[in-house]
Symmetry: C2
Subunit: 159 residues, 2 copies
């Protein structure tokens, strides 16, 4: 295993492990519990689930894996704070979207060769990338893994 393969494995192992950890917590929480706030006057569990789904869905175009599956989640879960829109998808629907988005991400991630992870992603210009080669596809996984950890730390409080 060369150092590029090692690095990709380190980052993807952590990503998959955080997804699995989040899924275990999510599966132990009922739809009713998801309606609760994680702490008084803070986001509800269902908002965190919608927010994470929308952020992971955004990774598809950023990583050149295809179009977003659920652009309708942008407004309620990325642009607006929790409780600004009364009609949002149900917990059951969001669980399905979450699983679908991560399934496609996994499939696409597994198809990339180690070297391809060090290519530029679609949110950086070719000019900027030539000066900042760390703004590559693998870095998207690193930042999104930390984003997921941040909200997993919150979701676990709902139990």
């Amino acid at each position: 295993m060369n150092s590029t393969q090692t690095m990709v494995k380190m980052v993807l192992d952590r990503w998959y492990s955080q997804i699995k950890n989040f899924d275990n917590i999510l599966n132990s929480i009922t739809d009713k519990q998801l309606q609760k706030e994680i702490a008084p006057n803070k986001n509800r569990g269902i908002y965190l689930l919608g927010h994470l789904t929308a952020v992971h869905d955004d990774m598809l175009p950023i990583l050149n894996f295809g179009d977003k599956l659920y652009p309708e989640l942008n407004e309620p879960f990325l642009k607006l704070p929790d409780k600004s829109i009364i009609e949002i998808p149900s917990a059951k629907e969001l669980r399905g979207f979450w699983s679908e988005v991560n399934g496609i991400l996994t499939q696409q991630c597994d198809s990339l060769q180690p070297d391809e992870w060090f290519q530029k992603h679609n949110s950086v210009s070719a000019e900027d990338f030539s000066k900042e080669p760390h703004r590559n596809k693998l870095n998207i996984i690193i930042t999104r893994t930390n984003h997921l950890s941040h909200h997993t730390g919150q979701l676990v409080l709902i139990k």
Copy 2:
């Protein structure tokens, strides 16, 4: 910048950015607020601060940077859950320990050459490392960055 340097930069950038983010939140919280629970019947802010300090302090021997500075934090913040011991260091003391531990970690991290990050750390045997080269020093930074993100997501709720 070669690919090893790029990989190390990606991981360390994220680590330092998470520390800075945590510090900004910590600096915006009073000692009195730190005594509050992050959510009803959950850990107090001061416990999270002690816990993170103890975990980061453990990184010194794991990364071969030297002995732990504050082994007395193991019992109250690693072995035992919150509120099991009445006498713990004050918020003011813990803020100082936290800053001290991260300062030394930064100093030591900055002195490592990119290739050295792919060497084995002290919590893995030479035999295991020969089969699992991803269990290197850089991987410790990746996992601890995610650990920090997890608890940062919680501390921010105290405000």
